[in-house]
């Protein structure tokens, strides 16, 4: 097996001042694959993503191992992290309305990502940005390059975000609810673009989502988190055969088109779910 992109062992994250850690003993290994992290709000899934980029100045991060390629993230300095962020590891956030700078043109923001990490002329960066806009299937890259974020739709904004994050050809992309702010009709389109680029360039992907349907379709493997712990790890194709009552509860609670309209099964939360489990991968 090829060397993994990311190895996480016993990651715990404690926000200072909080009575309990937000994330407890999370371990996983990521190769050139698409890994989904699913859970309800407050389960710690986004916190894991942010910890990997060390974007949590108010939290204490502890782990046995946090290895990203040759870099030990746990002991990386801020200077090293600046080189990693957006270059070797990048993050796509939920809502392009809030994650793009509202007072700068979209194209300039994309070019900036390239200028920050590579020695090149502005002209070259602009060409790169335009090529990338084309890669995310924007029909008229020159037009969109000169638009401000409020002048583009949500789906296009998210494509711009993807272009920005994949421009430096990172080894790992963390997508935190990349499509939950988008309409159903554009959601699949955006996911498909992200998926194609990630496969084509051999990038590792961590998809953080509350949506089981999404990870089922766009991930190879899924971690299910509850109260800061991973309760189950599954192959996405085998999600229906989940063993843990929490995963099964989440699947059953989802209304389905053509369902029988009987009251939906509700989750019966058990205190033992937040305890460490035996035999989890």
């Amino acid at each position: 097996m090829e060397t993994p992109i990311l190895e996480v062992e016993d990651l715990s994250i404690h926000y200072r001042g909080a009575p309990q850690p937000a994330v407890r003993n999370v371990s996983f290994t990521l190769g050139r694959e698409r890994l989904g992290i699913v859970g309800e709000s407050g389960s710690g899934k986004s916190t894991v993503g942010r910890a990997l980029l060390k974007l949590l100045p108010t939290a204490d991060i502890t782990a046995k191992r946090l290895q990203f390629g040759e870099t030990d993230l746990l002991n990386a300095t801020e200077k090293q992290m600046l080189d990693i962020r957006g270059n070797r590891m990048s993050m796509i956030l939920q809502d392009p309305k809030f994650s793009l700078n509202p007072i700068r043109r979209c194209g300039e923001q994309i070019a900036e990502a390239y200028l920050t990490h590579f020695r090149c002329s502005k002209r070259e960066a602009k060409e790169r940005a335009l090529a990338m806009l084309e890669a995310v299937q924007i029909r008229d890259p020159h037009l969109v390059y000169n638009r401000y974020p409020h002048e583009v739709s949500g789906g296009m904004g998210q494509r711009i975000m993807i272009a920005m994050m994949l421009l430096a050809e990172p080894r790992l992309v963390i997508a935190d609810e990349p499509t939950s702010a988008l309409d159903v009709t554009v959601r699949l389109e955006v996911l498909k673009i992200l998926d194609d680029l990630v496969r084509e360039k051999g990038i590792g992907l961590i998809m953080i989502s509350h949506d089981l349907n999404l990870v089922r379709n766009f991930c190879d493997r899924v971690l299910i988190m509850y109260a800061g712990r991973v309760v189950e790890t599954l192959n996405a194709a085998e999600l229906d055969r989940a063993q843990h009552p929490y995963t099964r509860g989440l699947l059953a609670a989802q209304p389905r088109i053509g369902g029988n309209r009987q009251p939906l099964p509700v989750l019966d939360r058990r205190p033992e779910w937040s305890q460490p489990m035996e035999g989890t991968a």
């Binding site: 309800e40 709000s41 949500g154 309409d183 159903v184 009709t185 959601r187 699949l188 509350h210 089981l212 349907n213 999404l214 089922r216 379709n217 509860g249 989440l250 609670a253 989802q254 209304p255 389905r256 088109i257 053509g258 369902g259 309209r261 009251p263 939906l264 099964p265 509700v266 989750l267």
Partner: protein
């Protein structure tokens, strides 16, 4: 319970040349005791319709009536007894410095209904919350509990029509299931007429008998629930929406 009738509703924001027509001409009927869905992409005007029905926006043209009576002609007191609204985000729709008791007692006091304690206890029981929660503040409640309080507040004046604006889209699936079950049970028990906005076709299919597909302020098509799987939608946008939702749900 009462039916809702919307005829030639038109609405624009702004004046003169800068005016933007968000609803050119919308008409539909909701039968008494029916759950009617409004679906469409963001910006298609579905929430605006609810705001017009509730008279939270009042500069619209056309005619909206509940049980044959135009909402425009109703006094505020009368309107509140006829319709109530549940908003999308329970974190934003409850006053952070008012206890549940204050939120529920105020309408009873204004409408001089009496039996305050009984009514509040009944509303709390109806939405599945312990009566002791009356003394809690919103920050002491989870998202699902807050939405239950918002529903209790809508029930307290015993309205005929409930306007539901994405009542579960800010909630987790597991909590969404609880709230949808609650709304379904309340409709069975009390026979409310629901007008429900949602972007999630699975939720609409679960809850509604009929739904209108909206695009750019226009009701493109009113469909029955069976049209989703039956493929009987004729308008291109309605078909696109249904296909995308089905594709999203059933693994590729």
């Amino acid at each position: 319970m009462k039916p809702v009738k919307v005829e030639n509703l038109s609405m624009s924001f702004g004046v003169g040349e800068a005016a933007v027509k968000v609803l050119p001409d919308v008409s539909f009927d909701v039968a008494a005791g029916e759950c009617f869905g409004l679906v469409g992409e963001s910006g298609s005007g579905k929430s605006t319709i609810l705001l017009c029905v509730a008279m939270l926006l009042s500069t619209w043209g056309g005619r909206i009536s509940i049980g044959g009576q135009p909402v425009r002609d109703m006094s505020v007191m009368e309107r509140c007894r006829n319709l109530q609204m549940v908003f999308q985000d329970p974190y934003g729709s409850l006053h952070p410095r008012q206890s549940v008791r204050t939120a529920l007692s105020e309408p009873i006091r204004i409408h001089k209904l009496g039996d305050m304690d009984d009514r509040m206890a009944q509303a709390m029981t109806d939405v599945g919350l312990p009566v002791s929660f009356l003394d809690r503040f919103p920050h002491q409640l989870s998202g699902g509990q807050r939405q239950r309080v918002a529903i209790a507040r809508a029930l307290i004046l015993e309205p005929h029509v409930l306007l539901l604006d994405e009542p579960t889209s800010a909630l987790d699936v597991s909590v969404q299931a609880e709230i949808l079950n609650l709304l379904q049970r309340l409709r069975e028990e009390k026979g409310f007429t629901y007008l429900m906005v949602s972007h999630d076709l699975a939720v609409v299919d679960h809850m509604c008998d009929r739904f209108a597909v909206m695009q750019h302020g226009v009701v493109t098509e009113v469909l029955g629930r069976d049209a989703i799987l039956g493929g009987t939608a004729t308008h291109p946008y309605a078909r696109q929406l249904i296909e995308a939702s089905l594709a999203y749900e059933n693994a590729m």
